[in-house]
Amino acid sequence: MKNWLDERIGWKKIKEVLLDRKIPRVTSLHTLGSICLFLFILQVITGIFLAMNYSPSPDHAYDSVRYISEIPGGRFLRGLHFWSATAIVIGVFLHMLRVFFMGSYKFPREATWWTGVGLLLIIVGGFGFTGYLLPWDQKAYWATVVGLNLAKQMPYLGHYIAAIIRGGSEIGAVTLTHFYAFHVLLLPAITMLLLGSHLFLVVWHGISSLPERTKEGSGQLISNDNWKQKVSDRYHELKSQGKPFFPYIVYKDMVAITFVFLAIVWLAMEKGVHLEVVADPTDKFYNPRPEWYFLFLFQLLKYFPGSFEVLAIAVIPVVLIGFLVLLPLIERGPKRHPFDRPFITIIGVIGLTGMIYLGIEGYYSPLTNPIIEKDIRVLDGQRLFFENFRCQSCHSINGRGGVFGPPLDTVGLRRSKDWLAEHFRDPEKVSPGTKMPNFGMLDNEVAVLVAYTSSLGGGPFTAQAPALFKDNCSDCHKVGDMGEALASDLSGVGQYREQGWIAKYIENPKKMDPKAEMEGFDGILTKEQIEDLSRYLAAQR
């Protein structure tokens, strides 16, 4: 068998060059590169299968991502894709730190370092940014808005760059197909090239040996004449004392990879992937936040007001990337041990500390808007109501819509959920002689429409409600002419808050907005009173 393979593909030579090659003594940190390679392969495999059930169009992207979760194994695969993406960001970064502090980027491995920097930028900046938009939820949409506006602020070329990435005049269908093509076609192709070169160079030069203190291990290397030859000789000496790549190094890699894989499996199963509500460009209460690995940039922007912002957006990143690219040219010579080149080590430590500090500051910086819990089914129903079945052609809500059918402002109070469900399934059955057509709605469509319509309008409030407001709220809040506007004026609160939200807020404001100063009325007012009051407020438009 082995002879057969050898005659056809030169197996003996492959085995000799790849598997039997000697590796000098390495540490566990040297498994980071293999972990990244494994994670990339995992990304490719899970990505291919996710793409089978994904539709890159604003009309369908969000629903298709949810559909993936309904397929057997789909939720798990999406979890693997998401969490291994996170892990790969950590992985390439740690791998870079290892190479940086051990001076492995130095002669003769400069080209290996450059391909690695390319991979780092493509993975974090390219894949991260484009993959983020694909689920088309709130987080996806707003992260892209912010990202594109940052690109726009780059001097001179910013507007052109943003226009090219965006594709169309605004973030929409063309942007999504652009991002999808980048994410699944262009970037993987570039990555394959860079990764192929990177791996070839790793094998070509051999895995770098551990750095040695110049004065102890290899003092003679300091002399400038012919140091390259000496570095090379010393490396080959260490290499010849090493162990074959297979199985000794592969085994170590495999153990590390297994741990990482199990961690990702656990995260995919336990945490899953959070999908927010569908992208809504009109939402005024969303808190756009970058993914945690961009938090340091996010925080950095806060320190550069006005026209100085260009420093944070363009200058600092360009300096950082330029530093990484030029590093093997700036810092040359045989010294590799971090203590033998204190200057570069200190730069690295300062840079790293800065990033971590900014990241933590960014993480703990307070949210400006309250977190609004939205019922995903109500929103689904709302989309069906307006976009699919166009119920507004006949029915009105808040005075907008057709007059052919009854207005639905308070339908949630007037009709039970069972009645609504029957009504959607077969209008004739619950209202004989009705003009409402039978749309042949599917079961899940009926369910979300019921969720939406039953949430509509708090319905009528009792005559006690204004008095409740006067007694409990008017010391701080104002509605029309009643009360004091010490806290927010609630005269038009019904325009932007639904009754359910108001009720929850009155009950326990801290739950809806951690920074709320108002005390909850849970226990002070009865459930019925809170309900009544919230209907009264929801009617303030």
Binding site: R25, S64, R66, P247, K429, L442
Partner: protein, 176 residues
């Protein structure tokens, strides 16, 4: 040269301990761990990929017509709009069904010939369903009279509620 910085143990092949050498132990462990990862991944990719095989269709009764509007004793085709789930979306498409009403009893025929799926029509002069592809003939109740079809016309489940005829169209096994 000081050796403590770069060599961790004796150089050269280790003495082989009883049973298994370090080398074959590491090889075996590598393969086992690789196998564990591949099977976790493979199992989930597999069930995701082949899940369409056992995907179940949901029952979706469709209102077609008032019973009294279907002519008694004469096969009649009725077009209807069916809302079908299609992956993550729902599609509306026009379909057709052949009804044969006998008093209060209604039979609903799948409008495709059971031979190769061609659309057949009702020939009222000869009182037969005629399939144009291979001139198959079916009786009023769907029995094969002549031609290649392997079985009578397929029927949809049908029921009448409040005077409204409803059917549950489901594609036959293997139908395109």
């Amino acid at each position: 040269m000081d050796s403590k910085y770069y060599v961790s143990g004796p150089v050269g092949p280790k003495p082989v301990p009883d049973g298994m050498s370090r080398r074959s132990f590491f090889s075996a462990m590598t393969i086992i761990l690789g196998g564990v990862i591949s099977s976790v991944l493979g199992f989930n990719l597999g069930r995701y990929f082949i899940s369409p095989v056992w995907a179940t269709k949901k029952e979706n009764w469709i209102n077609i017509s008032l019973l009294e509007k279907i002519p008694n004793g004469i096969p009649t085709s009725v077009n209807y709009i069916q809302r079908k789930p299609d992956g993550w979306m729902a599609n509306e498409g026009v379909d057709t069904v052949w009804f044969l009403r006998q008093g209060n009893k209604v039979i609903a025929f799948n409008p495709k010939c059971t031979h190769l799926g061609c659309p057949y029509r009702w020939d009222s002069e000869k009182d037969v369903f005629v399939c144009p592809c291979h001139t198959a003939l079916f009786s009023k109740t769907g029995e094969v009279l002549s031609g290649p079809p392997p079985r009578p016309l397929d029927r949809y489940p049908v029921k009448t509620e409040n005077g409204i005829v409803k059917i549950l169209p489901e594609p036959e096994e293997g139908e395109i």
